[in-house]
């Protein structure tokens, strides 16, 4: 009767429970059945009469995608459901809802998507009674990051605290979430059909496939920009004795280490030597080793407030590097370096789109990495991961894993593709084109590329020329923003090519965008909507819907960051 997962959960509970707990549980179940008598199945009917609401909180669109898929399948199974962005949901209604299914993604250091923060805060503050509400939470996250699926977890716990009834245990799904979604859907349907709620403890249902770690070496590295450029974009080639399985569209994950200079400075504030041993929990390491893998930069408000006790003055920054905090605020007497290390989260991995194709580049992994430079006040800082890669010595071991990106894939060989990849956004498209070249794919390929200057910033120019000559690249449009008085970007080129662009879509072309999320991907998307609207003589709303349809069909895929 119970699904495998539920059975195993129950077994887990039962086998690990003490006598007292078992007796309590028995009573709880009896009480629950009394209380919710009305919900008990009337016979073995397969009719679902409840109307669940799917509320999703999304940052990159994955949660929305899960919610839409769920909704579609519900409809197929004659379950009347609705889906809504948490941003648009009125909290006042929640206590009166029957069944709510949350699909919630997690950002950065275990944070809610921006659109969901207000909802969570309001729910926390609410004094409404939610005992009528039955719910389930599907969390999305990336197990490479600390506080995996934390937003989902917080929401799940809070709803329980507020008296709502958990229908299914929290699901923590990893980046490759499709399998978890399928399982959750199956469980949901059976739960809804039987209208039974299972109030089990929130046990982690991990569907994360263990990520395989590889060791390789960087055997070649070159800055693609010529002298005089404002940019420093590295082309990096990694080889390994292992066979690295990846597909065009995949990324690699790298966990950078902090450089010893900064570690030395931090240790200095505590008058410690970096070689001194520090024990935290039952692990003893040198300070150098501890700090090399702890995140020291861009600490969030939450991390900073946890450290408050160890500083003399109140930290007012919203986000700051540890070394800047140490410089600005005097340490409290009781502060030891171990206190601080214990509070620091591990360095999160950084993902880089692979710019090679396994078949075309002898199984190597190529990356196209922009050395991230940004200004904080008057200081120019560099991104930890890009700096780490830029400075990583040749021919020394580097560890990485392959991050599958099932939502950024080449279509069938005979389908045309339009690739929009300014800046380092060109990375996966170098992989795409190289793959199609080596496979002899018949589909036409159109690339949009842009950067600042033609002379210094035309990434992979000679390869692109070869592809144009051989014909694998059908059409190229480039935009160099700073080569003329008026700024020209890829979206301008899309508009200039409106007719062809629409024609390609008409012919079934798949559309890809990779690169900066803001403002690039928004501007590009608006240009595409404008082109669709213009060329099809439909209004902007309809054009948007058309693009959304392409997205739902998997013909419009984005990899933006």
């Amino acid at each position: 009767m119970l699904s495998d997962i539920k059975l195993s959960l129950l077994q887990q509970l039962v086998y690990n429970a003490s006598n007292e707990e078992l007796i309590w549980t028995k009573g709880y179940l009896a009480g629950f059945l009394d209380k919710h008598a009305g919900l008990l199945p009337t016979g073995l009917s397969s009719e679902v009469t409840v109307k669940p609401i799917i509320i999703y909180g999304t940052e990159t669109g994955n949660s929305k995608k899960v919610a839409s898929g769920l909704l579609a399948n519900f409809k197929k199974n004659k379950i009347q459901a609705k889906a809504i962005d948490v941003f648009q949901y009125d909290l006042a209604k929640l206590a009166k809802e029957d069944i709510v299914l949350f699909v919630m993604s997690t950002q950065g250091e275990g944070e809610f998507p921006q659109n969901a923060v207000a909802f969570y805060d309001a729910l926390q503050a609410s004094d409404a009674h939610f005992s009528q509400l039955r719910y389930a939470v599907f969390g999305l996250g990336d197990s490479s990051y600390p506080l995996f699926c934390n937003a989902g977890l917080l929401l799940d716990e809070l709803l329980e605290k507020k008296g709502a009834v958990r229908l299914l245990p929290l699901v923590k799904s990893d980046v490759d979430y499709s399998e978890s979604v399928a399982v959750w859907e199956k469980d949901l349907q059976s739960v809804l059909r039987n209208q039974i709620s299972v109030t089990a403890a929130p046990t982690v249902l991990s569907t994360s496939v263990q990520k395989k770690n590889y060791t390789g070496i960087i055997n070649h590295k070159v800055i693609l920009n010529d002298r005089g450029s404002n940019k420093e974009t590295f082309h990096i080639e990694i080889t390994s004795d292992d066979v690295i399985h990846y597909e065009p569209g995949d990324a690699i994950g790298i966990i950078p280490k902090n450089d010893s200079h900064i570690i030395g400075i931090i240790a200095g504030y505590f008058k410690e030597d970096v070689e001194n041993n520090v024990t935290i929990g039952d692990e003893t390491n040198t300070i150098k080793r501890w700090l090399s893998r702890r995140n020291l930069s861009g600490l969030s408000r939450r991390s900073l407030s946890q450290m408050a006790n160890y500083f003399e003055a109140e930290i007012t920054e919203e986000r700051a590097d540890l070394v800047d905090i140490l410089e600005k605020y005097p340490l409290a007497d009781k502060a030891g370096i171990a206190n601080l290390i214990a509070l620091l989260l591990p360095v999160p991995p950084r993902l880089y789109s692979i710019s090679s194709a396994f078949d075309a580049h002898d199984g190597q992994v190529h990356l196209t990495v922009n050395l991230h430079k940004f200004k904080v006040g008057n200081q120019v800082k560099t991104g930890l991961a890009s700096q780490f890669l830029a400075e990583f010595p040749l021919n020394e071991n580097i560890e990485f894993y392959i991050h599958k990106n099932p939502n950024f894939r080449l279509p069938s060989d005979d389908t045309d593709i339009i690739m929009i990849g300014p800046g380092t956004g060109i990375a996966p498209f170098r992989s795409f084109i190289a793959q199609r070249d080596s496979a002899g794919a018949e589909g036409k390929n159109w690339l949009f590329f842009g950067e600042q200057h033609f002379v210094t910033d035309f990434y992979y120019q000679t390869e692109i020329q070869d592809w144009l000559t051989s014909g694998v690249l059908t059409k190229l449009d480039v935009a160099f923003s700073q080569d003329q008085n008026e700024k020209i970007y890829v979206q301008n080129r899309i508009l200039e090519n409106a007719k062809d662009f629409n024609q390609w879509l008409d012919n079934g072309a798949s559309l890809y965008i990779c690169g900066q999320k803001a403002p690039m991907s928004t501007d590009v998307e608006n240009a595409i909507i404008e082109v669709i609207s213009l060329e099809r003589n439909i209004d902007i709303g309809e054009a948007k819907a058309f693009l959304e349809k392409l997205e739902a069909e998997g013909r419009y895929q984005k990899d933006v960051y």
Partner: protein, 546 residues
Amino acid sequence: MSEKLSPIESIKTKSDGLRGTLKESLNDNFTGNVRPDDETLVKFHGMYVQDDRDRRAERAEKKLDKLYSFMIRLRIPGGVITADQWLATHDISEDYGTGTIKITTRQTLQLHGLLKHQLRPTIQAFNLAKLDSIAACGDVNRNVIASSHPQLSPLHQEIYDYADKISTLLLPKTQSYYEVFIDGEKIYERSSEADPLYEDRYLPRKFKIAIAIPPSNDVDVYTNDIGLIAVIEDDKLIGFNIAIGGGLATTHGNPNTYSRLASLIGFTDTEEKTLKTVYEILTIQRDFGNRADRKLSRMKYTVDKLTVEGFKQELENRTGFNLEPVRSFSFTERGDRYGWEKSHEGKWYYTLFIEHGVVRPEQKQFLFELAQLHVSNFIFSGNQNLILGNIAENDKGAVAALIESHNIDKTVSALRRNSMACVALPTCPLALAEAQRYLPELVSKIEPLLEKHHLQNDEIVIRMTGCPNGCGRPYVAELGFVGTGPGQYNFMLGGDRYGERLNKLYKEKFNETQILAEVDYLLGLYVNKKHENETFGDFTNRTFFS
């Protein structure tokens, strides 16, 4: 004509009036170059595509194409522009290219390092200033040059006007320059472009015309396909001596190539006859010139093929009149006269030394401010120097003050004043060795040797080119250096001071150490063994080659 035509010939004839696929080339977004055939055609519009050879390897590693850029050369017959035109050139050079303005040995200006997408705006801006680059390169008549010191002759203006008349007479008729680079649309009917001079073949090779006003041979008149030497009697211009078949370019290892000074063939007394003669010399070269081997296609080879006498007869057949006998004249100088000089009309001229024609930043700033005064014109000499000309007595003070405040009037050694070099590395595709970047350094190393032998005031003419094509006219220098490979030069000796005798190969493939040791030896020999008033060039010619 059994020989197979050079591939360049069919590019010309198929070019639809020098249009080719230039418009498409300008729009190709994947390369900074133009298409291969268009590389030939763009020259006729005054541009060369070049790539920075110093940067090839590094850019290849970065998966970047060669660093293509364009040199644009203006057509300035006689080498005179207004202050406003200088200001326009200044502004254009600030907006596009490397920022350096270069004065060439043919009295015009070049800008380097223009990117393909900057060509149209550059040419459009020049057009607004009434400057163009039509036929500045390519197999056509190039910029017509003329002796540049108006203060030397009251007839200067009258003679100088011939430069413009000849240039206009020999312009290609096609309007493609405007169509491709200015209007963007084809607005001219092909029928109006019929070109009886160039037809659709143009000339077999480049063509150079110079006008010399004795006593100065600052234009190196004998190195041109046509040299016109003004004949002045009783302060009147009575006509021109005509010389044909000059040209310096040779090819290393090709014994069929040679330098040749122009041969005097006669005299014409009226403007009509002079222009007619010039025109028909071109038609003979058009019809008889070698179109199979571009290394043997300059008119000097045509003249020797037909013989000077045979060429002259063909010319007289075509013009319908006979040339008169050559009138007497003499050259007594070739260099520029630096500093202040006053003309016969009472106007002032100031000649500024510009080493190898490369206007240095401080000079550029000075000239920019000077041009804003609008009190002078700008004259480019065949020695790559700059004359601020036609300055009224009242304005001289202001110019002098500006020269003073910019500390422009610097004395340099006589050898440096008389030095000349071509562009060579890194941009010239023909260069085998350094020239413009290196000669100043070599001169600095020779200067102590001159002092050692007390020759620092001797006006010895030194010239260097990066290859044997002779753009810096090294074959008519007293000390000539012709690049053969990196750091290696053929050492040429025995040319005279005024450009009337070619020098000869003295030592092959010398490096700097060898050059300096040899120069030291030669200067010592010269000081000890020279006849009275004998120039260095005459001395070495007598000592080593006669």
